[in-house]
Subunit: 182 residues, 2 copies
Amino acid sequence: MALEHAILVSLLEQPGSGYELARRFDRSIGQFWTATHQQIYRVLKRMERDGWIDVRDVPQEGRPDKKVYSVAAPGRDALSAWLREPVEPESVRHDLAVKIRGSAFDDPTGLIAEVKRHRAAHADRLAGYLAGERRDFPDPGALEVGQELQHVVLRGGIAYERMTLAWLDDVLATLRRLADPH
Amino acid sequence: MALEHAILVSLLEQPGSGYELARRFDRSIGQFWTATHQQIYRVLKRMERDGWIDVRDVPQEGRPDKKVYSVAAPGRDALSAWLREPVEPESVRHDLAVKIRGSAFDDPTGLIAEVKRHRAAHADRLAGYLAGERRDFPDPGALEVGQELQHVVLRGGIAYERMTLAWLDDVLATLRRLADPH
DNA sequence: GGCGTCATGTAACACGTTACATGATTAG
DNA sequence: CTAATCATGTAACGTGTTACATGACGCC
């Protein structure tokens, strides 16, 4: 129910096409919300139909034309209303945790490679976030409100990845201990 | 695609009814996978039809009869096969992060109450996990394989909640700074 | 008398994923 | 020639959520 709100926030930060939104959902926004281009196009249609966003056809040379969306007044109102509604603290889905507990009924050491793969992926994400932080927030203090808020969300992503790396190391140590208890 | 696997793991740890599974998905399993009873009944039907699980009707007195499910050989095989398949590192969905960035276009200080509410919910979860840890794993070392694996998953939940509490404090401090810069 | 727990389900709808489809431009 | 990037979409399917439905028991 919040994809439309994530799109509103992104378009308020910067108007853009469905394609551009899809790329943002793979990068900065992907930190806290994911969506594929198929989902985004579908929701953009509905939002346009409901008058939440405006479209402007932008012809381009050397590449396909695009439709640039921006937030209209009813969209802004919808976002405001949603901001005032309480939302449930998120619930997590970790396939890896299911696998860890499931591997008690199979071969726990078979999971080591998989856990290492996840560790590498999270290390990459952390490196990406830290690079983004150096690039976008080099000077702490003296930031605008929007910047401050983007920064605190990014700090959350960084904290999440650091925590996850430490936990995956704990998981690896546990799996190795089970494989070879002294 | 992993609800059925989460159910298999739970039924291997302890056979039970749909209702019992739903309660587990609100507690220990809810730490890394959530599901409502409607979802669970639907998937149990499918799993039974596919021969992954066996049912036994258990008449009860003073309360409704129940159907106790346990994992059959094909279910065990399906779990083994899934454990050998790689899964994608999970992607997160945080309504709260959407709200934080969105509040730049509204009133950031209006979020303070909401963030406090989330903080309290996460503090509760952490307290619950820590109580579970004291109850189920009082004696580190000397545990069976299944216990060790359950414990390392629980440690992940504890680390997640601690990280989240620290981040929410960071968010609160940021929102207050925006409300009243010296 | 009403609420909470135990126990099972159906139905409709919203949301997410995967596969398919098109077509131009640029880089290797 | 092949792959990647830019740009938009449709269709089918699977999963998750919300609402509705039933009924007995025990507690306050």
